[in-house]
Structure formats: structure tokens, C-alpha cells
């Protein structure tokens, strides 16, 4: 199965810019389907980014985060060729992990 995580990490000077796009329905539990039944909540709760064994960013998300969520941040350190590990866990216990290479 292809990864749900798409990451673009670019080292610029002494910091690394990270943009991530994750495929996830992020169902809030308030939306009805075409039969008028509520779609149960299904959303990512925790998303972490690790570089060099250290967590550089943690996102705690609720159902109000948009579908196929996007996030952008920057951290000090990180150089071209380094690994950046991205993992998420959702409210149904599903998870995914992906390792991206930082670009120069």
C-alpha cells in the first residue's frame, strides 16, 4: 500500500523547512452521508516528526483539522541527505510511518 504521507523537507541555511501532506478522511463525526447517516469520527490525533532520534515537532489534532491535512513548520539543524521520520496515529488506532530524505 502506498504511503499516506508525503513530505518535502528542504535544508536552507541552518534550518530545515518541512511541509507534509497526509491522506486521511479526517471525518469529524458531524457530517452525514448521502443516506442521512452520521459518518463516525475518524481523524488523526497525533502526528510526530523525528530527526536524528529527536522529536522536532508534535501535532495534536482534533476533528476540526481539514481533510487530507497539511502542515508546515521549520526546525534548526538537519542537512541534505538526513532522514526525517514522520508518523501519525488516528482515533481508530490506525497509524502510518514514513521516512523522508531532507533535500539540500
Amino acid at each position: 500500500m502506498p504511503s499516506t504521507i508525503r513530505v518535502r523537507a528542504v535544508a536552507a541555511g541552518d534550518s530545515t523547512d518541512v511541509q507534509a501532506l497526509i491522506q486521511h478522511p479526517m471525518d469529524s463525526g458531524f457530517v452525514k452521508d448521502s443516506d442521512g447517516k452520521l459518518i463516525p469520527p475518524h481523524y488523526i490525533e497525533v502526528l510526530t516528526f523525528e530527526h536524528d532520534g529527536k522529536v522536532v515537532f508534535t501535532a495534536l489534532w482534533g476533528p476540526a483539522v481539514a481533510k487530507d491535512p497539511y502542515v508546515k513548520f521549520a526546525f534548526k539543524g538537519g542537512k541534505s541527505g538526513d532522514d526525517l521520520k514522520v508518523s501519525w496515529t488516528d482515533n481508530l488506532g490506525k497509524s502510518d510511518t514514513s521516512v523522508a530524505k531532507i533535500m539540500g
Binding site: 469529524s28 476533528p63 481539514a66
Partner: protein, 164 residues
Amino acid sequence: MATHRSTGGDSPQPTRRATLQALTLAGMVGFGLTCKARADNAPGWPAEAFQKKSQKDALDALLGKQFETTDKITLDVPEIAENGAVVPVSITTSLPNVTSITILVPNNPFTLAASYKLPDGTAPAVSCRLKMAKTSDVVAVVASDGKVYCVAKPVKVTLGGCGG
């Protein structure tokens, strides 16, 4: 549960009613388990804070203190969001030693939208996209040097993002 057991025990042949009751009960137990599993999921996720409906309660549960206003936070949101399902939000701040950035939407069913933990070395800036049920303020809350600061900006939503 006790009612169901006695019904099932009295009749050797399970009646339609008993079967239905058993099914309902199984459904309820299943639902309870799902809820429990949800609460147990994702270690470190502050479930309580995400279930609060008022801004004060959510912040109390998440950060444990009330906030001060400041002009050192830049909150970038659209004035009018045509589609409440995707509202881009950007926050940057010049405050020192920022440990977390939290975004709240007071008029959403659950006010807390997202919270970002920033360890040492991570820039105090974050962008993401939120859903908004209706026109509301967007509140950015930044924890810096042990204090909590906030700014708010209104966003007019013309089409809600929560099926409303």
C-alpha cells in the same frame, strides 16, 4: 444487562424479542468498546481538552492557565472563507522560548482544533488547514516562557465545513 440475562434464561428457545435484545446489547457493548478504544488511542493525545466545548475549559484542560493578549503573534487567516471545510491558518510569533502553539475555533462543536508542541530548536511558526462550522473567531494561543498569550481574528464562513 440483568434484564436480558433473565429473559434469555427463562426461555430455552430464544424468542425473537430475546434475540433482538441480545443484538441491541451487543451493539451497545460494541459501541462502548469503540468509545473506550478511542480514549485509549494515540498516547499523549489530550482527549479531555479536545472534548471541551468552551474556550476557557479547553485551555484549562490543555495548558492549565488563562492567557494574556499580545501583539507579538501574527495570525494569518482569510477574512472570508468561501469553504469552511478548508480554512488555511498560519501563525508566527516573535515571543521567546515558545513551547506550544494552539489553535481554537470557539464556534465549532469542539472548540480546540489543533495544538502543536515545539521542542527547543523548532521555529515558532506553523501553518495548517482547519474546518470551520460557521463564522467564528480563530484564536491562536502561544505558550512562551511559562506564560500563555493569545490573539484572535474573525473569519467569515459562507459555507460550513461540518455538514451544517
